[in-house]
Symmetry: C4
Subunit: 327 residues, 4 copies
């Protein structure tokens, strides 16, 4: 049985969250029978949400190296030859994809977290500024679209710092959240991020809610990501159709929303400029947003908002599974 | 034409089965027309079920070797580099997956067979104990997530024995059913299992019902497995959506359920901690369980219960297709 | 607009066809408006069918070489190690698959063409005989599951002859239709088949109706096959669900059935013992058969029946695209 | 909210477009409430369309080199051995596929752009002529099915010129639009095309509307292509079903059609002779065409018509992303 209406007591942890949180929480007064149900509901989010949904929008195009994953990369040209249709495939993200998604977020009044590769912002500053101007979080994604797991501590620090400096110069926002290339951070990454003042990272797939991990003894927030609700499943551009994405989103939502009555649950969704920005994918997401907006207690938040809200909350789980790297 | 109601004469082969069998069999008294139909029904299960469904839940995470199959393994890091997002992907099984599935089994009052890798139980004893405490069967899956087909008889015996000893020490249950890594047992496996007192194994895909095979002249039960009704089809995490799993389950069920009117049929379903334990997959299984619960004569059983029930039943087929290995 | 009822003037070309043809043609008397439509219908099949459907059922299991395509072959064991779960996967075809399909064909009163590998019949004579006894065509598929494209003329003749001799000794039927391993016949194959008295082969994907090709100046029938309506698309056992097969069949049928009003059209469908014989696939085919049985003018025929019916029909197309090999 | 009816002011830029444009634009007079909506509609196509759809139909079969991509190419024969079933798979395009598609275009009164490989036209002149006689655009696709990205300027000019000369001799039409093999043009391609008098090319995936790029300082039209609404996603023939194509088309259409109220949008769809020409794919396209024909303001056009209509329109975007190659 689904509980359709809950009374939400909004306990916001900071003024920042209050101002920018895109809330879909409905406080609807219901009849006696329905309000009785509310008493049994345990809500574990500080803001009383039944489910928090956080959308990522990767802006990477223009930063891709030769042979970066695309419908063409499975059959690569010999090194040194420009793959012109592949380049135009990436360019789609900057010419169409991001703008189409920005229109969608605006239509549904939600704010997302955009992971911006430094070189992408340099190549397409108008795109980076349009994202920032839309009220979205500018999060860090390295200066370049490049392996990070194999860098020394110093190289990695330089790589990340150059990224946030560069993107800040263009957008006016300094990232406090991090996403590594293909999620593949190295053993030093969290220490590097801590040194640079980051609040959280997303390169973890282990939970359906944010948690704290200790880095050099201090709290560091992990905002888990997912490969499931992620347009990257279609990076090859075949063996798939966008209704499958919509179905995945709906089934994932249904389960997490129900679980949200009993514990803190977060749903993470991810779109990449050149993939999720295609017409059919935006249509699928549009339908998903319509679907969840009809439910109460569903709150869309930027990842920085969520991280700030839960970083000092005693109900936030602490997980030191990677202790050996983070001491 | 589907026969919807059958009168079930429950012939239980042991007290154990009586106590733990999760029966969905309905003994509904119907009008004359309907009860007439019953007379033509031939039921071949000792407990009168029209269809027995047995669910497996692999608990393996924490035991995986470097490069174990995941959405990351198709593009592996050079040997020796920790693949941190891949590790977090596996960790999901212990942090979310198993617990979500345990909630589902409880919601539907069914008991499953859990194939537990020894090292997984050592790493996450709370998970192993939660499974055992839920009334589920703790079956063996080796001490480690490792190739078994290439071991000598002695190595293999040690590998299997260490697994059951270790898991018994943690959960209090000693496995009597076996599942090899990727089903890939070797020529000696059944003899090893017999020597260690096992009752059955599942590494066979040849039938839709359990059967007996002779090992050194004595009965050994084979509880066939399937790759069809198995979340492993989505281990790569792409080219797929969970409604496809639901459709596969329903179509497979419909056919086997109808066949169950004429002969003994078993439906095998399998979930892995980090794959089937995702929200959308659990939602799909929840819908499937609702679907089959509306039918009469559907019985969910642990594999040890089934094996004990049919091991001495003269109606159980004997199949010595692998005679050359098992003499 | 679909024309639902056509008056069928059955012009059977041989007594054989008359006796074994499984006709679904309905001669329903309709009101004036509907019968007027009939006058515009041009039917190009000698038997007046609007669409002829021919089902193939490959019986191959038991003949497979080490490493034959299966869900396991993508990750093969080192040569010389028995892949026991893979072997049990193949065995499913002989233990369950063929018998389940035979039940389905019987339920719907249709006869199919079974392509039987010689070694499969030797290993499972009961399966081969059950197929023959069901009124199905026993067609040839080589003595072994082996490459045919690389054999000399003499080797190939021996390979094919041994196959038909062996299967005839077991089933009493001598194949007159041929299917090469993976369709991969060689430049000499049709000449070899002609020398051995074959009437037709199916290893061609170029048309949606049978045609004549000249081999050493004489007519040889080609009964085109398809990879589309073919369970082989799921040989890997993933990235797929059986409702996709059902949808493919229905959409293919709808188009060909409509085209059948204007020209001769044949729909070819193929099932392999261990793939199409699974419960969900048989369920899908069951639903497809129900779907087409509601239409008039749909005729199911064995391929030998079709070949005999059209081999001397002047309306049968002649296509010598492979002239250079067949002179 | 969808705006269903718009008043279309047809501003045709040339008589050519007027004569051959297949317009689905409906000028329906509506009640007051609905006509008010029209005032807010901004239409950016010169002909007032809400959405222009352009279909490509590749005719390539007969020109394929050994090992060209097919369901067989993943498991190739040793070089020099004819792959007879693969050849018959390609032949399907000339024997069935193109003719089936021509019937479909005729049924729906639309004209498409056919990219014709020179050697395909030489091998099957009747197919090439049937396309031309159907009122479709004969566009260029090289003399052979061969890599173009690795040719020198002179080789490439010869390759392209021989293609248009050859196809013109057969069909009477000289191509003014170009499509490279696998879209993989080289750095010189646009200059070569300009020198040969071409008006546009399609080997670009960066936008959902045509644009101008400067080649040696002069306008050259880019008519973007897509891999999404493209039957090539099923070239391997598995892990897919045609309803997925239909769904992709509908979702893409829905989004672009809605966007068409605010800016110029073009939907590109592509079919290849031997893939899209199969019965189920044509059925899917038939259903899609029925779906969009129920909407107003949807216009199907050949790519040459579109290019001519927008080449001198000041509203056409100019994009010099590939400036470094085209100077």
């Amino acid at each position: 049985m689904k509980i359709k209406f809950i009374k939400v007591i909004t306990v916001l942890s900071s003024l920042f969250v209050l101002s920018s949180c895109t809330s879909k929480v409905k406080d609807e007064t219901k009849n006696e029978t329905e309000t009785k149900v509310e008493k049994d509901v345990k809500s574990y989010w500080p803001n009383g949400a039944q489910l928090v949904i956080s959308v990522s929008m990767q802006f990477e195009t223009g930063g891709q190296p030769e042979g970066a994953e695309s419908p063409f990369s499975g059959n690569p040209l010999p090194k040194g030859n420009p793959d012109l249709p592949a380049e135009s495939w990436f360019r789609y993200g900057a010419k169409e994809g991001v703008f189409r998604m920005l229109d969608l977020w605006k239509k549904h009044s939600i704010h997302v977290t955009s992971h911006v590769v430094g070189e992408a912002a340099v190549k397409y500053p108008d795109v980076a500024m349009a994202i920032a101007n839309g009220g979205h979080e500018i999060a860090a994604h390295g200066i370049a679209w490049d392996d990070q797991w194999n860098k020394t501590y110093e190289e990695e620090l330089e790589f990340v710092k150059k990224g946030i400096d560069t993107v800040e110069a263009i957008t006016g926002q300094r990232g406090i959240g991090y996403n590594s290339n293909w999620l593949r951070r190295g053993p030093n990454t969290l220490k590097v991020l801590q040194e640079l003042g980051f609040l959280y990272h997303i390169d973890d797939l282990s939970r359906d809610e944010p948690f704290i991990t200790k880095v050099r003894g201090k709290n560091f927030v992990v905002m888990p990501y997912t490969l499931r609700n992620n347009d990257i499943v279609n990076v090859e551009g075949k063996h798939w159709s966008p209704d499958q994405f919509l179905t995945q989103l709906k089934m994932e939502f249904d389960q997490l929303y129900e679980e949200g009555l009993k514990k803190r649950r977060m749903m993470s969704i991810s779109f990449h400029d050149r993939i999720g920005g295609s017409p059919a994918m935006v249509k699928a997401m549009d339908e998903f947003l319509n679907y969840v907006q009809a439910k109460s207690g569903v709150v869309f938040m930027r990842k920085d908002e969520i991280a700030k809200m839960i970083q000092n909350d005693p109900n936030t789980p602490i997980d030191n599974s990677e202790e050996k790297y983070n001491n």
